[in-house]
């Protein structure tokens, strides 16, 4: 086999690998990318009919539990979204603290499939921090704003 021929094989092989990789990535991206919205985004336009995550603070006094049926409000201090969840909420879930919820919107209520609480006292999920910053209620380094239900 000549050197040229061999090189051709390898280039073809490389292209095949690249093509297969690209095809895999594109199909996977189509199905598996999850968008993040703040409560303000949700209020502004009808998004997230399929699957997304939302984040913000758990509004104080909004948590209701009835067995495994849980409901609470997520707020970025401008807008608020009601969330329903069936299951046991994570340990570090607290009213007034940051939370990220996966799920979808269904007639104005966010049906959660997964609730992720932050994992220690000082940690604020970056999405939540962004949502709060965007709403103009919180700047880096300041203490966290109080989340109230009336707001």
């Amino acid at each position: 086999m000549t050197r040229k021929r061999r090189r051709l094989y390898f280039v073809l092989l490389g292209l095949l690998g690249l093509g297969a990789g690209t095809a895999l990535v594109l199909t996977a991206f189509q199905d598996n990318i999850v968008f993040f919205f703040s409560p303000t985004d949700i209020a502004a336009k009808p998004v997230c009919a399929q699957r997304c995550t939302i984040g913000g603070l758990v509004a104080a006094g909004s948590l209701m539990k009835e067995g495994q049926n849980v409901s609470f409000d997520v707020t970025d201090t401008v807008e608020t979204v009601s969330v329903k969840y069936v299951g046991i909420i994570p340990d570090l879930f607290r009213e007034g603290q940051g939370v990220v919820v996966e799920g979808r919107m269904n007639s104005g209520v966010f049906m959660a499939s997964n609730v992720l609480a932050k994992h220690d006292e000082n940690y604020m999920p970056p999405e939540v921090a962004d949502a709060l910053k965007k709403s103009g209620r919180w700047k880096e380094g300041e203490p966290l704003p109080a989340a109230t239900k009336s707001n």
Partner: protein, 663 residues
């Protein structure tokens, strides 16, 4: 005072790094032996200075000197000694000092052990190491100084994040860093070879032990991280495609590819420029890993160190290191001769496909990890790319890799006989199909079990064909096979063990992914829950004050039928300083499967708690597999041929334009 000496030593080492990165290069270009030898002295001196700086930092943590900002922020006098020490690298500044310390260790090792290296190659390699060192020491001194004092001196420190107070995580960062930094050796050798404009079999023989050492550290480091996540994060997961995990996995993928392509360079003098490129890419991935973790740019459960300004500095470092080396590569690579010719179906061909699949896998993981960052920068929207993406992309790439992993070692160099190899692997194929059939039979022919059965078939295929290859090599069962078993080179045993370890790992992953069951509930004392044939009775919770935390300790009785097989005590720990809670799971293992229990929060007044139970079949095999791979690497490293400095350049290529070193 001591801490100022440490600071001073680090500043001095910056000057030494400056000399190490320039003088030997000029010396090598001019053929000046004295200037070239500066590299060795500088490397050793740098090691002494940086080790001293690191020691002063450890001293400050051990003696709880809270006048040092880092100690105040990350340590506490009531902490056990091991976590005082691991606290040194549990934060951004300290972890970078650990990084350069390990870099200095590697540099000094080359200087001391690399006596037989051609002086010019050694000088250039050490000079490149000096440049990396220069960048990182400057980064520490100018943006992340761990020696900063605090006035007035606080009485007590803030404490280390309790989630990091764990023996697994105390050794996880050093192992990982040994891997990352170890790949800097391959990088330095590659850049030195590019400057020299020559790569040959001897070069590959020098690079391989360093790459192997880095690879096995990284393997163990990733394994430790995974193990830690498994038993502390409290949901029984061992891999979640978290960006920080991916950051360590990217260099592992390309490093594994490098390990294999270096063999081709050594045995056949082919794939030279590809190997050089892989060395550059692997170290770039290591740098990127440091960057991703240390700048906190990505959403991650590990986001405990974040400061974007430092990120910009690291980004510049990355730009110079990657951009510079790739530019050099673009200029020099076309001048390198092509090397040995081989047919597509041959050992080389197999290793090339291995490389292709591993680098493609690396590229897809890379894209998935950085895609959220790219869209956020360009479009402003936030998205997340989660586990489903990685599973959908990664698994299809691994399946052909594992199939070929069975066949490749049976192919001859240069021109292989695929038909012959497949004939010899008939038994392996049979075992594989049999394993799948048995799995389906045990699982009850449910459609949901096909994935798991397929994985187990893969594991059986790889395990069996690895053993068959070993059997062929020693002509097992024929006369004289015993002496062949004894005399087989350790590098060959290393491969067999590591490949078999991979098979064990696949076995574990398949089982753990396919048949994990979980049960989350509120349990009042005395209530029993059934999971996977076990009955778990919640007996209640007691509070126990320990050193620096209070534990809520549950007692859970595990019954199989009527026999009590274990009494488990999962805990929730509330730390005093910093005020944080962690979960501490309790595991009953049969060494083939685990029953993992964690304790949640109290519910109501009657002593009821949230409890989480996970049955994790075959998870222990994950750890066995990783240990086997690590052990295989060690065995291979002890091979005489891999001993650093042992090989000499072939006489044909010994005509160096440089006089031999004085010693």
């Amino acid at each position: 005072m001591i801490i100022e000496l440490g600071h001073f030593a680090l500043a001095l080492s910056l000057a030494v790094a400056l000399i190490q990165s320039s003088v030997p290069l000029i010396g090598a270009a001019r053929g000046n032996v004295a200037w070239m030898n500066v590299a060795r002295q500088a490397a050793v001196l740098q090691f002494v200075l940086i080790a001293f700086a690191f020691a002063t930092l450890i001293h400050a943590y051990v003696t709880s000197d809270f006048s040092v900002v880092g100690v105040y922020q990350n340590s506490h006098s009531a902490k056990p000694l091991i976590y005082k020490i691991s606290g040194v690298w549990g934060n951004h500044e300290g972890s970078l000092v650990l990084w350069v310390t390990i870099l200095a260790v590697f540099g000094a090792l080359v200087a001391v052990l690399g006596r037989n290296l051609p002086p010019a190659l050694r000088a250039r390699t050490l000079a490149v190491q000096g440049m990396i060192s220069l960048g990182f020491i400057a980064f520490i001194l100018f943006t992340s100084n761990p020696f900063t004092r605090l006035f007035p001196t606080p009485e007590e420190g803030n404490g280390l994040n309790p989630i990091l107070q764990d023996p697994g995580l105390a050794v996880h960062p050093p192992m990982l860093y040994f891997g990352y930094v170890g790949f800097s050796m391959a990088f330095s050798f590659a850049v030195a070879a590019l400057i020299e404009g020559r790569v040959d079999a001897a070069w590959a023989r020098w690079v391989r032990p360093w790459t192997l050492a880095a690879w096995l550290s990284l393997t163990l480091g990733i394994g430790l991280g995974s193990w830690w996540a498994y038993y502390t994060l409290g949901w029984g997961g061992w891999w979640m495609w978290d960006p920080v995990e991916n950051a360590s996995f990217l260099p592992w993928l390309t490093g594994t590819a490098l390990l294999h392509s270096a063999i081709v360079v050594e045995k056949r003098e082919a794939l030279k420029s590809w190997t050089i490129l892989l060395a550059i890419v692997t170290f770039s991935m290591s740098l990127l890993g440091t960057f991703l973790v240390r700048s906190g740019v990505l959403t991650s459960v590990h986001a405990f160190a974040s400061d974007p300004t430092r990120g910009i500095f690291i980004l510049m470092l990355l730009g110079i290191a990657i951009g510079g080396s790739l530019t050099l590569y673009a200029i020099r690579a076309p001048q390198m001769d092509g090397g040995g010719i081989f047919a597509p179906i041959s050992r080389e061909g197999g290793l090339l496909i291995n490389n292709l699949l591993l680098t493609t896998a690396c590229a897809t993981v890379f894209l998935g990890t950085l895609y959220p960052l790219i869209t956020e920068t360009l479009a402003g929207g936030r998205i997340s790319v989660g586990e489903p993406y990685f599973n959908a992309v990664f698994i299809p790439l691994m399946v052909p890799l594992f199939l070929l992993m069975g066949i490749g070692p049976l192919l001859a160099w240069k021109r292989g006989d695929l038909g012959g190899a497949l004939t010899r692997l008939k038994v392996a194929a049979g075992i594989s199909v049999g394993a799948a059939a048995v799995t389906m039979l045990v699982a009850g022919f449910a459609l949901a079990d096909i994935g798991g059965a397929f994985g187990i078939a893969m594991a059986a295929w790889l395990g069996a064909s690895t053993l068959i290859e070993w059997g062929e090599r020693v002509k097992f069962g024929r006369s004289g096979s015993w002496s062949r078993i004894v005399n087989l080179p350790r590098a060959a045993y290393g491969m067999t063990i590591a490949h078999f370890g991979m098979a064990v790992l696949i076995f574990g992953v398949s089982g753990a992914s396919a048949w994990k069951t979980e049960s989350i509930q509120v349990q009042a004392p005395g209530e029993t829950v059934q999971i996977a044939g076990y009955g778990l009775t919640f007996k209640g919770v007691e509070e126990l004050p320990v050193d620096n935390y209070t534990a809520e300790r549950a007692t859970i009785e595990v019954k199989r039928g009527d026999n009590i097989v274990a009494v488990l005590h999962p805990e929730r720990r509330t730390y005093v300083q910093p005020p944080t809670q962690t979960t501490f799971s309790s595991i009953h293992t049969t060494y083939a499967s685990d029953l993992l229990t964690t304790l949640g929060e109290a519910e109501g007044e009657n002593g009821a708690y949230v409890t989480r139970f996970y049955h994790e079949p075959l998870v222990p095999f994950l750890w066995y597999g990783i240990l086997l791979m690590f052990f295989g690497g060690i065995v291979s490293l002890t091979d005489r041929r891999h001993r650093v400095g042992a090989p000499r350049r072939a006489p044909a290529s010994a005509a160096m334009p440089v006089p031999a070193a004085a010693e």
